[in-house]
Subunit: 573 residues, 2 copies
C-alpha cells in the first residue's frame, strides 16, 4: 500500500489503465494523470469505425460499456483520479523528482512533484519526408480531433476521392471506411510489393488485396508516394508516385508510428530506437519511473529480440503490470508475440508469431504449410473455407507463426487465439496437432482446421509432403518456361478440370483423384507433377501414391481454394 | 513401412481415420475395415442437424468435403482400403491372430487373419432400465438408420409431440431439432437438477435452459423417466415421471453412452469400466492390438484420472496416432481435457477442463469467478455479452476450467479454444492474464474477455475480490431470511434501479457507481452489502472503495448480465 503521489504522463490507454488499477489496489495513493489533449481515454483503434460511420459519435469511443463518458469528472468521481488535460509535460527533473508542466490554455508553467512517475506517452505517426506532407488535407490517424475533422468533411460531401498512403492495418481500415459507407473513390499506395508487409506473407496479403479491389479500392503496390501537391487554395489535391498522379480530396498518411520517447531521452533515461527501455517490471533505467504502452520497447518472445509494439491491447496489459508494481505486487511483463486480426470489408485476416519471411530473416530453419479447410463441418449450411498458414522451424519443430484468412466473424480469431496460447509457450507442431479444440458441427470440423494444419506441417517436416509455394506456382503459370519440367496434375472432378485442360493443353493433365490408383501409369515419369486440388489434402494423398510408384511430384499447398482467393489473371473464364 | 495385413473393426470415425492415414504412411500395407452396418464413415455428430433439416440428406453426413460419398468403393478406389460392411466381428483369437467374422446378409462365417488388429468399436447408447424402453417409437441417437427413421416420421407429419430423455448435448440438440424447424411440441426430461450436468456449472446450464424454454421446449429438471407406456398399437405414446405423464408421438433416449468393449473383454484384453485399456501409443494389453475412439479409456489431463471420452474429434486424433504407430512412427496420445461446444437455438455454450463442481469433487481447492464482458468493442455495433467462468485452484493458481455462453457464432469458441491450449499445458491465472489474444474492435475488446476473466480470478485468488455465488444470491432473492444481514447495493443508473428499490424496499439500496466515493457514508456499517451492477466490474471497484472505508461487502460476480440470462421470477416487470 502506498500513499505516494503517482504522476502519469499520458491519458489514452496505458496511462488511465495504470491509474485505475492502482487506485483499486492502493485507494490511499494520490494519482494524477496529465495529458496535452482535452480528449482522453478513448479507443483509438476504433477511429476507422468512427470515420466509417459504424460508430456514430466520437463520444462512443470515450464511453464506458455502461455509457458514461471518460472525461476528467468521470475519473475524479468514479476512479478517484485527478486528470489534468491540456497539460503538456515539458521536462522531468529526476533529481528533484518533479515534472515541469504547462497548461496549454493559460500557458502557465509549474512543477509537479512525484514519488513515482509513469510514462505513457504513446506513439506518434511517422510523417513521410516528402514534399507536401504537411499540407492541409493530409491527415495522420493519431488522435480523435483529426478523426472528427475527417468525418466532418465526409459528412459535408467534400470528399469524393481519397488516397491512403500505407498498406498496414490502419491504412486498410481507413480505405474501407472511405469506400464502404461513403462511396469515396479510394486509392491505397504501398511502398512494398504487398499489403501488410512483415505481418502477413504474400499469399495472404494478396487475398486481402484482391478482396479490397473487388470492393472498389484501387491498390498500387511497389509504389512510393513521392510528393503531395496542393491546389490553388493550398490544400492537398494530388499524390504523385513514380507511375502515376492521383487527384484526391483527402490524403491519409498511415506509414507507421514512432515511440514518443523524447521526454524520457531528455531526462537521461535509457532509450533505444524501439522506445523507452524497461525491465520485466516495466521500470525504466530510473527505478522511480515506469513506462508502458506504445512508447516502450518490448521483447518479441519468438525472436527474443527487442521491438516496438504499438497495440492498444498490449498497452492495457502493460498498464496493469505497472499498477501492480507500484502497489507492491511483483507482476512481470515478458513480451509479446504479435497477435493481430483485422477486418477488411467482408473478410478478416489475422496472425500471431512470425511470418515465413520474418522467420527466415531471423535465421530460423523456417518452413511453412498452407491449409484450406472449412471453418465448420462441411455438411453444415453456413461453412466457409479459412486458409491457414503454419510457419515452423524444421529443426526444433517449434511453431513460429500462424496466419489466417476468412469471412468476417470469429472463425479465424478462434484459431489465432488458440495458436497464440501455444506459440507464446514455445509450442511445437505436435502440440498443435493435439490441441483439443472444441467441436460440434456448427463450430468446427471433427479435426479442427488448426489441428489439420499442424498435421500437414508434420508431414512436411518429415518430408512426406513436398509442396510448391503458391508464389512459385503463380510465376510458373504466368511464365511456364521458368520450370520446364513441371506438369500440372489436376485431380479435381472432370467438370472442374475441363476448362483448364482446354486452355493449358500439354501443361495440364487431368486424372480424377478417385482414379489415380488405377491410372498412375498415364503419368509421365520424366516430368515433375504439380498436384492440384481445391484444398491440398487429396493432393497429398495422391503424392503418397505417386511416391510409392517412384513418380516425382509437388503438392500445391492450399490448392485452388487459395489461388481463387488470391486471384489469377490466367484463370479460365 | 509394413506389408502387414491390418484389420480394423469399426468403420465410423477412428477406424476409417486409422485406415486412411496408414495407407498414406505405408502404401504397401493391406488394410481391411469391417463394420456390421452398411453405412460407414459418417459424421455422427451431425445427426441432430440432419433431423432438424439443416442437413437435407443423410448422404451429406457421409460425403467428403469434395462431394464424394464415403462408401465401400470410395475407400477401395480413393484410399486403397478394403471395407467389408454388414460384417460383424464375433470373436478374436489372439493366439491364431484371427477375427471370426459373420456376413449379416449371407449369415456366412469365416476367419480373417491379421498381423495387427485395431479395435474401433465405438460406444453404444445407454438404454435406461425402465419399462417400455424397448418399445417401437423409442429411439436412441446411435446410428444413421435410426436418424433416417426419425426424420421420415417428421416429414410424414407423424410427430406432433416429442419427449427427449436426457439433458446432455445430444438431448439438447435433438430437442432443438424437433422444435425449431418442425414445430414439434417437445419436452426434455433430466434426472439431475440442471441441464448438461458435470460439464457446465448450474448458472451456465440455467442460461441454456432459459433460452430453450423461451424457444418453447418444456424442460423438466430433477425428474426421472419412470416408464414409457404404449398405445393400442404397441407404440410408445406416454412418458411417466414422478410428477407428470407426457403424451408423445416419439421418445428419444439420450442418456449417455457406454463403450463397446465386449469383444475386447472376451478376447481377454484389459478392459475397465471406462473402456478398453490402452497405453500412450493406444496399444491394448496385447501389443498386436490397438484401440481408438469411443471404446477406449483415456486419461483426463486435469484430474490425471481415467475416463470415458466419446467425442468424434478425439476419435479422429486417436485414429491418426494408431496409424502412426502401426507405420513405425512413435506418436503418443496423452489424454484429453474435455473441450466442448454446442448450439441451442440462437445461443451456444461451451467449456474445457473441469466445472467448479467437478473440480471440488476431485479435491482441488477450487474457486471460480464469472465475468460478463462484451465479445467485441462495446462501441462496435454488433457486440454481445459473453459470460465466462474461470475455475481455478487457489493454492497453485492453476486454471482448471473455463465455461462460456453467448450468441451463436464463434466468439465463445475462440475463448474456449484458447483456454484449451493453456489448460492442457497446466496454465495458471497469470498465463491467462498475459495470453495475447488478437485484438481489433470488430473482434474483441482491448483487454479480451478471457484476459479480463483471468484478472478477476487474480483478484479473487488474492482475496481482493470477494463474491457471492449467483446460486446463493438467487436463494436469497427468493428467501430473503436465509441471509438476514445482507443488503443489495445496486450501483447501476437510477433509471435501472428504480423498479428494484420500489419492489424490494429495505433490502435494496441504490447509490450510483459514480457517487459511491462521495456517498459511502449512507451505507449501513452493520450489514453486508451485495454489490450489484451489470457485469461485476463496477462492483469490484466499489468493493475496493468500501474496503478502504471498513465496510463489508460481496460482489455479485457476472452481475445482472448473468442473472438476466439465467432468468428470475422475482425480476420486476
Amino acid at each position: 500500500m502506498t500513499t505516494d503521489h503517482i504522476v502519469i504522463i499520458g491519458g489514452v490507454a496505458a496511462g488511465p489503465k495504470t491509474a485505475c488499477r492502482l487506485k483499486r489496489l492502493a485507494p490511499e495513493a494520490r494519482v494524477t494523470v496529465i495529458d496535452q489533449d482535452n480528449l482522453i481515454s478513448y479507443g483509438g483503434c476504433g477511429i476507422p469505425y468512427y470515420v466509417s460511420g459504424d460508430v456514430s459519435d466520437e463520444k462512443e469511443l470515450r464511453n464506458t460499456s455502461f455509457h458514461m463518458t471518460r472525461d476528467e469528472s468521470f475519473f475524479l468521481n468514479a476512479k478517484g483520479v485527478e486528470v489534468m488535460t491540456r497539460t503538456r509535460a515539458l521536462a522531468i527533473d529526476r533529481k528533484a523528482k518533479t515534472v515541469r508542466i504547462k497548461n496549454l490554455d493559460t500557458e502557465r508553467e509549474e512543477s509537479l512533484s512525484y514519488d513515482k512517475l509513469v510514462l505513457a506517452t504513446g506513439s506518434e505517426p511517422f510523417v513521410l519526408p516528402i514534399p507536401g506532407a504537411e499540407l492541409p488535407g493530409v491527415y495522420t490517424i493519431s488522435d480523435l480531433h483529426k478523426a472528427i475533422d475527417i468525418k466532418e468533411q465526409l459528412a459535408k460531401g467534400l470528399v469524393g476521392r481519397a488516397v491512403v498512403i500505407g498498406g498496414g492495418a490502419i491504412g486498410i481500415e481507413m480505405a474501407e471506411a472511405f469506400t464502404d459507407l461513403w462511396g469515396v473513390e479510394t486509392s491505397l499506395i504501398e511502398f512494398m510489393p504487398q499489403l501488410l508487409p512483415n505481418i502477413l506473407d504474400k499469399p495472404f496479403a494478396d487475398m486481402v488485396a484482391t478482396h479490397m479491389r473487388e470492393h472498389g479500392v484501387k491498390i498500387h503496390l511497389n509504389e512510393a508516394a513521392q510528393s503531395i501537391e496542393a491546389d490553388d487554395h493550398g490544400r492537398a489535391r494530388k499524390v504523385v508516385t513514380a507511375n502515376r498522379e492521383i487527384e484526391t480530396d483527402i490524403v491519409v498518411m498511415a506509414a507507421g508510428v514512432r515511440p514518443r520517447s523524447r521526454l524520457a531521452l531528455e531526462a537521461g533515461l535509457q532509450v533505444s530506437k524501439f522506445g523507452i527501455v524497461v525491465n520485466d517490471h516495466l521500470q525504466t533505467s530510473d527505478p522511480d519511473i515506469y513506462a508502458a504502452g506504445d512508447c516502450i520497447e518490448i521483447t518479441h518472445l519468438v525472436t527474443g529480440k527487442k521491438s516496438l509494439a504499438p497495440m492498444g491491447s498490449l498497452a492495457n496489459r502493460e498498464g496493469r503490470i505497472v499498477a501492480d508494481n507500484l502497489a507492491g505486487l511483483t507482476s512481470t511483463f515478458e513480451g509479446w508475440i504479435g497477435s493481430f486480426i483485422m477486418k477488411a470489408f467482408e473478410i478478416c485476416a489475422g496472425g500471431t508469431g512470425l511470418s515465413l519471411q520474418a522467420a527466415k530473416a531471423e535465421g530460423f530453419d523456417a518452413d511453412a504449410v498452407i491449409s484450406a479447410q472449412s471453418d465448420r463441418a462441411h455438411f453444415f449450411p453456413e461453412q466457409s473455407v479459412i486458409p491457414l498458414q503454419m510457419v515452423f522451424d524444421r529443426k526444433s519443430r517449434r511453431v513460429l507463426g500462424i496466419q489466417g484468412f476468412g469471412p468476417m466473424g470469429d472463425a479465424v480469431l478462434a484459431r489465432i487465439d488458440a495458436a497464440a496460447a501455444l506459440i507464446a509457450k514455445g509450442g511445437t507442431i505436435d502440440d498443435f496437432s493435439k490441441l483439443e479444440m472444441a467441436y460440434a458441427p456448427p463450430f468446427a470440423t471433427a479435426l479442427d482446421a488448426l489441428n489439420a494444419t499442424a498435421n500437414i506441417a508434420d508431414n512436411k517436416a518429415a518430408d512426406r509432403l513436398r509442396t510448391v509455394a503458391i508464389d512459385d506456382f503463380m510465376v510458373w503459370m504466368n511464365e511456364p518456361d521458368t520450370r520446364p519440367d513441371w506438369l500440372a496434375l489436376d485431380i479435381r472432378h472432370p467438370a472442374e478440370t475441363k476448362a483448364f485442360t482446354e486452355k493449358f493443353g500439354d501443361r495440364w493433365l487431368a486424372i480424377p483423384y478417385i482414379e489415380i490408383r488405377n491410372r498412375y501409369r498415364e503419368i509421365p515419369t520424366d516430368r515433375k507433377m504439380i498436384i492440384i486440388c481445391d484444398a491440398g489434402t487429396r493432393s497429398f494423398e495422391t503424392q503418397c501414391v505417386l511416391d510409392h510408384q517412384g513418380l516425382k511430384s509437388l503438392v500445391l499447398g492450399g490448392g485452388f481454394n487459395c489461388v481463387r482467393r488470391i486471384g489469377a489473371a490466367w484463370w479460365p473464364s
